[in-house]
């Protein structure tokens, strides 16, 4: 049994320690907002926060996440009220939407470290892939969220 804390809730899961956290979150805990895109850490669709740090959950064996506090897209607000989510809606960012959970978590992490990122900061930090090409709207939404959380 591996003990996990996901979105503030304690869980024990009976899985192999080498199972990637991604599949535990999706298939054992049934939180399907975290997505599978590549399985090798290259796309960011599976992004979660582990003890506040950005992690690509497809590359993190669940054993290594035991005892940490994990946040998935479902855990950032209960009502889409997080400023980043609101900015995403205001800028109409998603197209197919599949990459967006990861994008939003990456943006949250960026804004925590750097409340007013420049375009260059965004270029460096936002390495998630989007096949629909929403990058410019992601950028705008990050600037918008930065503006709204200024105070």
């Amino acid at each position: 049994m591996i003990k996990l804390n996901v979105n503030g809730e304690a869980h024990s899961v009976d899985v192999d320690a080498d199972m990637p956290l991604l599949w535990v979150i999706r298939d054992e805990l049934h939180l399907s907002g975290t997505k599978f895109g590549c399985g090798i850490g290259a796309c960011g669709a599976c992004t979660v926060l582990v003890d506040g740090q950005l992690r690509r959950s497809c590359m993190l064996p669940v054993g290594a996440a035991a005892g940490t506090a994990i946040t998935t897209i479902e855990g950032i607000s209960t009502d889409r009220s997080h400023p980043v989510q609101q900015a995403w809606v205001a800028e109409s960012v998603p197209q197919c939407g599949y990459c967006q959970s990861g994008m939003i978590l990456a943006a949250i992490s960026l804004l925590r470290q750097n409340p007013h990122p420049t375009d260059a900061d965004i270029d460096t930090a936002m390495t998630n892939l989007c096949r629909c090409g929403t990058y410019n709207r992601v950028r705008k939404a990050i600037h918008r969220a930065a503006g709204s959380s200024t105070a």
Partner: protein
């Protein structure tokens, strides 16, 4: 699409609920009679029909209310799902008369609004899909979970023509969670308790393959086959005048060969499908662009009538043509059948890249002949590719589209387009913008070459070829893109490249604004003008143009599927690298106001960026790029970032 219906219905947008349609002929696109989300056909195919449906429903609701009130219908009006009797000021909701209205005969000739009265069309109302796409609750095919469900993982023969000769699953059977092995004609699936268990057990299966006819085939060989085909028999797609004779009589001629490689779709959501079989038939959950194709695929595996296959369409993490295929449905149905329980099949990214239906490789040989005044007297194009439309029985000459139906043709007296459907054997299929992902790159490149050859401004040469009625709308987007990009006064050190075309019922012109230092391209901005008829939802049009540009630019920069021994050499985003945030250029788009019926918008945006960029590179360096990707020419890429 709901906007079109709601416009005529006069419904309240805030109360709109959208549901995915099951597979059924009633949802067939009115233009091509299949229930598919393809060819940028949804809005243009449904525009009139959805208006008629909305208007008919509104008339029925008004009639029901008027009858109930005992007043003439013409004294009643509808807005925001409320019916008002103007003289008395009485009002009531659509819902209060819906039951009575439903009993009335359906008006066959409902009166449609005039464009000037549109309130919803031409605006960007709140999107109904956004909430689930920012909180993780939107359900994609990969998210389906059923009671008692098992998971399948799949591995197929890397060589695309491979056939399974034998397999040994002894070791796999000993793995925890193992349930069933399912051999396929060209691979094997393992069904297990969890997806991770299935993946691990699958890795233990040993397979032997017959490689088939693609054994030994590689990309250079394919290129050679295509180029040799120029000299073989070809089908005539269009012939005006006598191009061969005019070429022979020309005072001087030009010839150039253009070529592009195979491309993968790489939808963000890997292929997947969930199937549950029961006594009454079966249920299929997947993100699909073609529910009826999915339905028939499952029915064929199970040997049951298609009507007994219930398709549950989910959100899809990118389609781009890939999800018009149903191979993953066939496989999931086979897995569920073998396992005797519901099964969710999930492909790895590696399988997705290596077992796609690729945008076919293509090559064109152009020839142009000029008269003494420097006018184009003859123009010949020979298009060699693998024809997806032919494979899909949608018409043999369609793969020459963008060339054979070019709006330049009317300005050229002798114009001939031929095509060769090269039978190479690599799986191919529809890929966002189809033939327009390669033909305009080639045509607009060659037109640019002609302009340089004639010492004319490439923009002005294009203008001169569009001075006839059929060229009017293309000319307008060409002009608008040139104007907005400052064609006549580029910034110091900048070079501009232009391209314009007609595709999917729309017209699009793009200017790429670059500068170059050695082999390093800096893309400063991309300016696009579009005429897509009535602009139903401008914000979505902007998003589609931008997204289409990214798809096209990714391909232009380094998109390339290469073949060795009949197998795809790329396998994931590490070697099939798609564009990133840091590479995203500034993008400006302009919509030409129009009252013409809507054109397509999902695909046209993919087409013009490659030729605009290649033409800009020529302007900057004098080096002509006749093949893609640019990375093959030793060119590297960056974008301008305005400093914040």
């Amino acid at each position: 699409m709901p906007m079109i219906l709601m416009e005529e219905l006069a419904g309240n947008w805030d109360r709109l609920v959208v549901k995915d349609a099951p597979a059924a002929a009633i949802y067939d696109n009115p233009v091509f009679h299949q229930q598919s989300t393809v060819g940028s056909f949804s809005v243009r195919g449904w525009y009139t029909e959805l208006r008629r449906i909305g208007a008919a429903a509104r008339e029925m609701l008004l009639t029901a209310a008027a009858t109930d009130w005992g007043v003439p219908v013409r004294e009643c009006s509808a807005s925001n799902s409320i019916i008002t009797h103007t003289p008395s000021g009485r009002s009531r909701s659509f819902g209060s008369v819906a039951a009575q209205a439903a009993e009335l005969p359906i008006p066959q000739q409902p009166e449609l609004k005039s464009n000037a009265d549109f309130r919803l069309i031409g605006t960007s109302p709140k999107r109904v899909d956004l909430a689930g796409k920012v909180d993780g609750s939107a359900r994609y095919g990969i998210d389906i979970a059923l009671p008692n469900m098992l998971y399948a993982a799949i591995k197929r023969c890397p060589t695309l023509s491979g056939r399974l000769k034998s397999m040994d699953d002894t070791a796999a059977r000993r793995m925890p969670g193992f349930h069933t092995t399912v051999p396929l004609p060209d691979g094997v699936m393992v069904v297990a308790r969890s997806y991770w268990h299935a993946r691990k057990a699958l890795a233990q299966v040993r397979t032997e393959y017959e490689l088939g006819k693609l054994a030994g085939v590689d990309s250079p060989k394919i290129s050679q086959i295509m180029r040799e085909a120029f000299n073989g028999p070809s089908a005539v797609a269009r012939s005006e005048g006598d191009a061969p004779a005019a070429l022979a009589a020309s005072t001087h001629t030009m010839e150039a060969v253009y070529e592009v490689p195979y491309l993968a779709h790489a939808c963000m959501e890997p292929m997947n499908c969930t199937v549950r079989i029961d006594d009454t038939g079966c249920d299929v959950w997947c993100g699909t662009q073609a529910p009826q194709g999915a339905q028939h695929a499952a029915a064929a595996v199970l040997g049951i009538p298609a009507a007994r296959v219930r398709i549950h369409t989910t959100f899809l993490g990118g389609g781009f043509g890939r999800r018009g295929e149903a191979d993953f449905v066939t496989q999931a149905a086979a897995a569920a059948k073998a396992a005797g329980r519901p099964v969710k099949l999930i492909w790895t990214r590696e399988e997705d890249i290596q077992h796609d239906f690729y945008r076919p490789a293509a090559a064109i040989r152009f020839r142009a002949g000029f008269d003494r005044d420097g006018k184009i007297a003859a123009f010949e194009s020979n298009v060699v590719t693998s024809s997806t439309p032919t494979r899909m029985a949608a018409g043999p000459s369609f793969y020459t589209s963008g060339i054979a139906d070019s709006n330049y043709a009317d300005a050229i007296p002798n114009f001939r387009v031929t095509g060769v459907d090269a039978n190479i054997g690599v799986r191919f299929g529809f890929w966002r913008s189809v033939n327009d992902s390669h033909n305009p790159f080639m045509l607009e490149g060659f037109i640019d070459e002609i302009a340089r050859h004639l010492k004319r401004d490439p923009y002005q040469l294009r203008r001169s070829l569009l001075q006839h009625p059929s060229g009017r709308r293309q000319l307008a987007v060409l002009d608008l893109a040139a104007e907005k990009a400052g064609w006549h006064a580029p910034r110091p050190g900048h070079s501009l490249g232009i391209a314009a075309l007609a595709a999917f019922g729309s017209y699009i012109g793009t200017v790429a604004d670059i500068s170059m230092k050695g082999s390093q391209i800096t893309l400063h901005r991309v300016v696009t003008a579009v005429d897509c008829g009535v602009a139903v939802e401008p914000d979505n049009i902007q998003a589609q143009l931008e997204g289409g540009m990214v798809y096209g630019l990714t391909a232009a920069l380094r998109g390339e599927i290469t073949i060795a021994n009949g197998a795809v050499q790329q396998s994931n985003f590490t070697d099939y690298r798609v564009m990133t945030m840091a590479e995203m250029p500034l993008f400006e788009s302009y919509i030409v106001p129009s009252t013409a019926p809507p054109g397509g918008i999902g695909e046209p945006g993919t087409a013009p960026i490659a030729p605009a960029l290649a033409n800009a590179i020529y302007a900057a360096t004098g080096k002509r790029v006749r093949s893609l990707p640019l990375s093959r020419h030793g060119l590297t890429f960056s974008v301008e970032r305005a400093s914040a």
